[in-house]
Amino acid sequence: MTTAVGADAGTAADPVAPTGTAGTTGWLSTERVRDARTAAAPARRARWYRPARDLHPGAWWIWALGLATAASRTTNPLVLGLLIAVVALVVSARRSDAPWASGFSAYLVAGLVVIAIRVVFRIVLDGGSGGHVVFTLPEVPLPDAAAGISIGGPVTVEGILAAFYDGLRLATMIICLGAANSLANPKRLLAATPNALYEVGSAITVALSVAPQLVESGRRVGRARRLRGEVGRRTHWFRQVAVPVMTDALDRSLMLAAAMDSRGYGRTAGDPPARRRWTAVLVLGGLVGVAIGTYGLLDSTSPRALGVPTLVVGLALATVGFTRSGRRVRRTRYRPDPWRSAEWGVTAVGVCVGAALYATSTVDPGSLNPSLQPLVWPTLPIGATVAVLIGALPSVIAPPPVRVTGAPASVPLGPATLEPSTLEPRALPNQAAAGDPDDATRIRRLRGEVPR
């Protein structure tokens, strides 16, 4: 009986059953409830929703460094082009609308400039070897002392291509770092520095905010110069502009120092000097190790031992040093960027891409460095291609970024402050007022009415 009624009510085209009866019996019917749930499911999970949040800046940097490492291992223009495309895709998908995020195009331009400089220098200074001469520049005779350097002369396809490949590799690395800069707030990265680097971090933060102030006061003083009618004269320039700007900067830094002091900056527990010195040695030694290790890793001609082992030892030293010195700083951090699965994913992608091309370049260097003598078309090696394409995954793995300027002021909690209870897509008040159909459905569901 119940089953029959439930089935009846389930068919929406039943004209006979009155709504009230169907509702009452349906309420008791398990079948009916399941039916209602399945019917409601698409409405409630209409779209897969992920809260917008900023990914930990460290994750973006590791991803970008991984891709840069990959770029450093190849001169294949197809692979490099693919890398740039991948980076651009991720940036366009996951950068926020904050001011620092708009710099990516500048890095693209910088890349182009690098390539152009590289090629032009090659053409002018050393047209290159190889048989395919494109044109010949007039040669400048140089004295014997400059033997080995030639200006002008024949310019070959091989020479131009070699310069182009090389420039493209450098450009790709620059673009990778640019991507990191546009995806991650540089200041958040400073905020994520370990406690030991806290003083350095705040010095850099302050310096970064001083720069625009200097520009501003420079502009203001420059404008004021016109009021004294002395624009044409260069003799007084230094005193007229530099003196007021510098005194202004000095005043401001004193005021800032006073403000920081009265807000509790520098409340640290004292440490015995010997212990501080040891900590410093550990930190500095570790950082030097990291620097050498990174160089070894990036430069394929350096001995293998200079790479990973030095990097690991350096990291270990630095970590110990940081932990030791971090212990004496008593401060807490407001809303630190969490490190969750998305961060692990993005980091893993970066490491994978870097490692894959590192491995490929040692196993099969030919495919990643297309031959110029003889000239052949570069091909797209399947392994490297797949590895590079993996690099695009953060455009999906990473959560969407927080929109700052677009955030409606009327919503009490901005997108950045989403908490578990607010993860449901929230109807904006104005939409609700306008009679959002979604809202009507939701209200009917609250009243126990079944969407038909």
Binding site: K187, R226, L256, A257, A258
Partner: protein
Amino acid sequence: MTTPPIVVFDRVGVTYPGADRPTIAGVDLHVDEGELCVVVGRTGTGKSTLLGAINGLVPHFTGGTLHGRVTVAGRDTATSPPRELAEVVGVVGQDPLAGFVTDTVEEELAYGMEQLGVAPDVMRKRVEETLDLMSIAELRHRALRTLSGGQQQRVAIGSVLTAHPRVLVLDEPTSALDPTAAEDVLAAVTRLVHDLGVTVVMAEHRLERVVQHADRVVELRGDGTVLSGPPEQVLATSTVAPPVVQLGRLAGWSPLPLSIRDARRLAPALREHLGRVPPPFRTAVGPSTPTPSAPTPPTPAALAARALSVAYGSTVAVREVDLELHHGAVVALMGRNGSGKSTLLWALQGSGLRSRGAVRVPAERSGAAPVDTADLAPADARRRVGLVPQTAGDLLYLATVAEECAQADADAGRPAGTCDALLEQLVPGIDRRTHPRDLSEGQRLSLVLAIQLTATPEVVLLDEPTRGLDYPAKAALAAVLRHLADTGHAVMVSTHDVEFVATVADRVVVMAQGEVVADGPTAEVVVSSPAFAPQVAKVLAPRPWLTVDEVRRSLELTPC
């Protein structure tokens, strides 16, 4: 008294190195918990020193010698440096932007707590509370530099409040704000005092805004000593007093009124008396407009702007402004911050940006066509229109006042000593060997004005000259501007200070969103506006008296 005072000064004196006498000396002061204490006094009497001593910035940060004992909530500042007092005393300076450490509102609110090691969940809660308390919740993600002055100041106060200090020290928090923004900040401060019981010690130049909320007024008398007591008692004799108090003193009202409301309740007799007296002739002070009835000035305009527009990118700062300045008149330019006042002044001078329109001054040779200020070389433009910018110190770059004066003479091609004589006329007795940075705000302004006047401009523009000036300095500036107008200059001065406008201006131009929304005689424009009416006008309305001096003159002519 059941609770002990929270701030105690016990025979405190401060002497800075190199100074021949102490800045403050023998100060005994008790501030009770939950009081709003206003510190008043002329520039240079040691207001900032007194405030700095509360959290130990004086002498720990500034240097100098502290005599006596300052205790805050039982802690001696001699042994606790400012950073250790951070959870007891919160300090906000004059320029909020200079004190910001981070770059967004939320991070700034959290900064102090991070330093104090407050637990993360407590921090989160306090930030949300403070955002609501200071009404800045909608600004939480905004960059600090993009906020307006009033918003910045509220963020600055909020950022020290998150540490839950028991005393809040504010050093002239509203000196850079327009009247509305200042109201917002002061409303927030009084809310803190009344609802949260925070003790506030505040220095303020424009007393008319705060004195009615004050529980205690501390007057620095210039000799290093202080007078502390209830506002009515201290202001009865103080050298600085808001117009409503001065009016009260003049009329002999008792108790002394501190607010418009109090004064109006005491004023009916005075209003009635003034109703029988001829109203003051405001326009009769300028020589070129001999009778107030003359509708058109006899001389051609000293400067005429037609359809002047200035746009920065897509933002229109000044929109199709028509404006004429006449010889012998002081024009006040008013309007909220960001309404285009500075942009307009710079565009009028000719060296600022201009998108469209014309600004003409009469040609120097008679009979020639008027010239546009933008077509003149900077050296020529300043001989026609002189501008004193908002940060007047930007124009100064030499080591002594004497050098600056000599340079000004050379620049303007005038005989040596011209600038010096002008300066002596404006402010007598400045030591010519002083470094310009060591001058007081008012003296520096006068030096820049003298430098600009050396080029003999007929039109003088001043951008917010009253910022940071105390009452006597403002009175001196008003006298200088009046003198300039009387000697045939056309003067335009942008300011937020309604009392200053009432004293000095013949005409008021009000701007909003880059447009001129009101332009007329001071009495008409100012009295009809609730925001711009001076205190005396509010007390005596509908009688057309605007300043205490006018009332005094009328009373001298026809005593009660």
